[in-house]
Symmetry: C2
Subunit: 214 residues, 2 copies
DNA sequence: GTCTATATTATGATAGAC
DNA sequence: GTCTATCATAATATAGAC
């Protein structure tokens, strides 16, 4: 979460200074929102940590809520990019599912503060929250998984089953690894761990394959 | 989350009245904490919803934090019971894993408000939170899964693999289904859904079993 | 664009009567 | 055990000078 996208114009005067204040503010806000939670975070602590004063925050973002929205929008942008990257990857469905999990896992791992903020808001209480479309993440990841699953079934690479169930199983790997990473008493999984778990659910946990088709 | 365990003594006077106030308070607090989040929840709203006044809350629980701890302790108690029930279940490892997922899923489904509160606190920011051992849930579920996995490998029912990876795969099913249930834009999974997903990961997602042992 | 100083409201908690 | 009335503090946000 650094200085993101475009800012309108940027005239002759102290643009660097401006951008630096904005950037420091964004990083400080992500950190404080992560540590204290959005509701419990105070603008006082944010501006103190950023080394500026309150009116600067209100000048750039309009409100405490505006700061949060800026952080979330940047996160959603990175998430979309990561998923898109995985989908254009060549190889079997199994390989592309692995790539998808890898991309998402890496993104999460490299942006733990912002991800924790987003995760907490997504699964946490909705009331009194900013006007941000929190379904965005779900609406990006789910169709990506579904698309891979349907393709895998069409080519015969995947077993015949309810596509939603297969998606759920794959989503479970991502959810499990993510939880493990975000939860403070969990040991990190690592890319290797993700691959081993994926291999397991693709090949099956059982030693003998007593498959009962539904 | 109703009136829980014991209260000291309970003398001659208005015990019913007392217990009713306590119970209403607990339910109201769980609801408000769920809807607004712990930090953003105000004692004013809690007491209004419970139909009593502030001093009653402070008389029974000492503080806003005391209310939260009471809710969490009740939740941890129910969670331990559910896991213990599943472990004493007869049958194959596969059947007992299913029973475990079923128990946890049902408990979550029947106590959505309290579970959302606990989930939000567990994965959310730790600072400024009550003195409650949030690792409890993890410390109960993980060993239970691990025990079943190790037993399954000893008897040859499960494939030879890193036990942590198998645990992670199973945990992923629970995490995925839970997320689906808690997340507002997710469609419920249902007990049947859980069983189908478990069957999938036990038998494998792949149509052809090109197993490469690690 | 950034500051000092302040307005306004809501919070968690309590005194003290009954 | 439950109330009314209130305290002390900290919150978000803004005026207005520079």
């Amino acid at each position: 979460m650094d200085e993101p996208q475009s800012r309108q114009a940027c005239g002759l005067t102290a643009c660097d200074h401006d951008e630096r204040a904005r950037g420091r503010l964004l990083r400080a806000a992500a950190d404080v929102f992560d540590r204290k939670g959005y509701a419990a975070a105070s603008v006082r602590e944010i501006v103190e940590q950023a080394g500026i004063t309150k009116p600067v925050l209100y000048y750039h973002f309009g409100s405490k809520e505006g700061m949060l929205v800026a952080i979330l929008e940047e996160g959603a942008r990175l998430f979309e990019q990561a998923v898109a990257r995985a989908l254009t990857c060549p190889g079997s469905v199994r390989q592309r599912v692995a790539a998808l999990c890898e991309e998402v896992y890496s993104l999460f791992r490299d942006n733990v503060p912002a991800v924790r903020v987003a995760h907490a808001l997504f699964f946490g209480p909705r009331e009194g929250l900013p006007a941000f479309d929190f379904t965005k993440f779900e609406r990006v990841l789910r169709p990506a998984i579904t698309r891979l699953v349907e393709e895998g079934m069409a080519t015969g690479e995947l077993r015949e089953a309810h596509p939603e169930d297969v998606s759920m199983a794959i989503n479970g790997v991502i959810a499990g690894c993510t939880d493990q990473e975000l939860n403070p008493c969990g040991t990190p999984v690592g890319i290797d761990g993700i691959h081993r778990v994926l291999d397991l659910i693709f090949d099956g946990l059982s030693a003998t394959h007593n498959e009962k088709e539904n």
